[in-house]
Symmetry: C2
């Protein structure tokens, strides 16, 4: 057809031939890798925490730098749990140890404390050639895995932990994605189903998309402080059995984005359910140090599992995850983390090490940072008092900001915010008027994406729409970190309040 | 059947019932995650560099520590390109900058040079909150990507490089696996085929297994110093078209495990072939600083692509990879690296950033290390002379060891070793007598695995069998690093020689 058209237009066979060649050439120069030809599972991945709203925030920052006038002077990135980016100072001791490991000449410097030097020497002895630049074992440096095991035992009141069950990881995300990768199998109705909370942290849905596994949603109870109800787990599981083989149950405790802290009873119920229904448990416990509400306490799944007796602790397969990125240290950039596995089949442990070995090892300086998180200064050591002061200052501040955020949001008409029991986010429910919903539809946007885009454009505040985490149909939320310094956070919350009131008026 | 047997054996209905319950209980407590139920693609992954031979080496090390007598006193791990583990010292300047970034109090210390401080300040300015502990952009820190682009321009004699095309990665492995992940699609005969050299670095075969893509082998020409011949590429491609959709061509230059350095003509031929056959090019150039043989020189695919003219440089889709792990710096543990993409579709760049953002960012201290690799001291700067001395000392030593290894291997009857033009490995061909092949078969081992196991058990030297990299049917090899210090390497080569001669005698 194209040739015929060209022939008609140009009226000469020679020209037609030349054009045909040109067309062929052009055809041969189409890209190999396009949206149409790419891996459809990767295409299906969504990751809202760094999604369109964050790209927009980047554009606005560029415009501000160019001097373009806006109703604000800076973009505040409350989209991601990145404490240092919000001005939190690193824990001195942790950085001293990592610096000593990086540049061992400093071991002779009188300006570094002995307890930091002692730890640095121990870590370096665990490294090939005493260098952070050597590959470690794929499972991580031995002595650091021993320190992790000791930490878990202390944390869990003496429940034993075996260094052989500890795997150091590239942040918690890497561990979670790796375990999911091993777990997924089967085709059609026997494809592996992975149960995740809604709202969830979108690493889960992204990993499930990449692996072409089946996402099985269970809903947290917003009316009940985002509690997990086993009846809802059962409903979700039973429905899923019709279309897949659900064999993994993911728990995030303390919750992200929802901030709830699970009580002992809830965890027991979940473990019993996993035992009964033969589900592999994934416990994402990266916010274990971030618990703020009176009467709330962090219980690890591992500890409760042991307390439930041998029928449980000899059988339930559990992987739990921790990280250097959150807590009081906030060392996201180091990509440090660990996972502990319980009741993993010995052959699977071999498979896991094999899979990890393809990527050689987690970053060794991140492993060193993880070591200080699990092996901090103890009473009597030189650095103890400064360490405790720094740690408590961060955690007390976070607790204050959690309460402040809840209180301020709940004073705004059309916003409801559950208590921030833990973690570092508010996930308030927002009322969006139907006129705004219509306008969002006209822009082909989720209503809360529309809301968050407007918030960003009018105030410079970058938060993530609830639709990026999942929420009950017809309800709308956003996730905002509570990491900015108190005074800044207050201003930010005032701005959100003013924006929201104006938004309600505009679309009334 | 089990119940009937039990009934027969125990002779009582009550006992049979009790046993049946026990059986059921046991059945209900089978593992969820087993070799049978796991992801079959992960199960299919093989990674010889850290495979069975390395596990065995670990066991032997444990036995030595326990005081068990062996014909040797230490295990020498010549299986992996880990320079620092073999005693190579880190480049002082690189570590100074990373230490300054880690613990910025040191910026006030008179014991650090100004040029290191200047770089550290620049890197920290690129970090959120001036901290290595912040997440960076998923693509990597802006100013480091700028430095990478400048480095590439200098390296390639002025061919332009755009920081927007640079992605910092978690080592080169991460970049390679990520690009492959985006590329793989289709089912049945239209499943993506990935062409890789044989012998190859097993990251490629492992990533292909994980992604359930189709591995398409092209053979390097051992008789011709492991050169790449385009006729062999064409043979391989044409055969593959019958069972898959080959759309990716992977090149490793300098070669791993084979050490050849491709000349300009070869690279031009490969680029022309990729252009003609519409193949996406992956150029693994992590050994770009490791070129030893007279008359050999590293040419980047990017540079040759530009020199071939606009028809090529406007069209051929290329991703090339570099790393902090090899070269003269050997900083494997930092997991630093970058990739440069050329002619990637803008929509695919968006998809790439999205996919990378799920893992948040590459380790920031690894990014800092990468910065120093691409932005080292220059003439006139305080640290220049020490830097150059350290760099040249490492590279001159490697060149010496490359020649020594080739020469010593070629003096052993039944071993033939091509020149080690580049990289950091010897991949000698070894003659294995048929009696040894039979014994290997009896042990269900590949003949070269059998050989390497014997070598390990008798000498403590750990090398990787050629079967882990791929080789022509009936030929046998092993890969050995040339990283041990010269004197140690000589002893090691003597030991291999003695072992080989005894092995030939034993199985004559």
């Amino acid at each position: 057809l194209a040739r015929a058209l060209l022939l008609g237009r140009r009226g000469s066979a020679a020209a037609a031939k030349a054009s045909a060649v040109k067309i062929n050439e052009k055809a041969s120069r189409e890209k190999i890798l396009t949206l149409e030809s790419m891996n459809p599972q990767v295409k299906a991945v969504e990751y809202a925490v760094r999604g369109p709203i964050v790209l927009k925030a980047g554009e606005i920052e560029k415009e501000l730098r160019k001097g373009i006038k806006k109703p604000f002077t800076e973009v505040i990135k409350a989209n991601i749990g990145d404490a240092h980016a919000m001005g939190q100072r690193p824990i001195t001791f942790l950085r001293q140890v990592v610096a000593l490991c990086t540049y061992p000449n400093l071991l002779d410097s009188p300006s570094f404390p002995e307890d930091a030097k002692k730890r640095a020497r121990r870590i370096l002895q665990g490294c090939g050639g005493n260098s952070l630049g050597s590959y470690s074992a794929s499972q991580g440096i031995n002595c650091i895995r021993e320190d992790v095991a000791s930490y878990i035992e202390r944390r869990d009141g003496g429940v034993p932990a075996d260094p052989d069950n500890i795997y150091l990881t590239t942040g918690a995300s890497d561990g979670i994605a790796t375990i999911l990768k091993i777990l997924v199998s089967g085709g059609g109705k026997s494809r592996t189903g992975v149960m995740i909370p809604i709202p969830q942290y979108p690493l889960y849905s992204a990993a499930i998309s990449e692996l072409d596994a089946i996402q099985v949603n269970y809903y947290l109870d917003e009316e009940n402080c985002w509690a997990l109800d086993v009846n809802e787990l059962r409903r979700s599981l039973n429905e899923a059995k019709a279309y897949c083989n659900p064999k993994v149950l993911c728990i995030i405790n303390p919750g992200n984005p929802t901030g709830q802290v699970q009580n002992r009873k809830c965890i027991e119920d979940v473990i019993h359910f996993a035992w009964e229904e033969k589900l592999f448990l994934l416990a994402d416990e990266v916010y274990q140090d971030n618990v703020y509400s009176e009467g709330c306490q962090f219980h690890s799944f591992k500890k409760i599992l042991y307390e439930m007796g041998p029928e449980y602790y000899n059988n339930v397969e559990l992987a739990s995850f921790h990280s250097t990125s959150k807590g009081y240290m906030g060392e996201c950039g180091y990509r440090g983390g660990y996972m502990e596995v319980i009741n993993l089949h010995p052959e699977i442990k071999g498979q896991l090490v094999k899979l990890l070995s393809v990527r050689l090892c987690p970053p060794v300086s991140g492993q060193a940072a993880m070591d200080i998180v699990v092996n901090p200064p103890i009473p009597g050591e030189e650095s103890y008092s400064q360490f405790i002061k720094e740690k408590e200052s961060v955690l007390n501040n976070l607790a204050k900001k959690a309460k402040l955020t809840e209180d301020m949001f709940n004073k705004v008409p059309g916003i409801h915010c559950n208590p921030l029991q833990g973690a570092m986010y508010a996930f308030p429910r927002i009322f969006i008027p139907s006129k705004a919903i219509e306008e969002a539809k006209a822009h082909k946007m989720a209503p809360d994406m529309f809301y968050c885009m407007k918030l960003l454009e009018e105030t410079g505040i970058c938060v993530v729409p609830g639709s990026g985490f999942g929420q009950r149909e017809g309800s709308y939320h956003f996730r905002m970190t509570i990491l900015p310094p108190v005074e800044k956070l207050k201003i930010l919350l005032e701005k959100v309040k003013d924006f929201h009131i104006k938004f309600l008026e505009k679309y009334a």
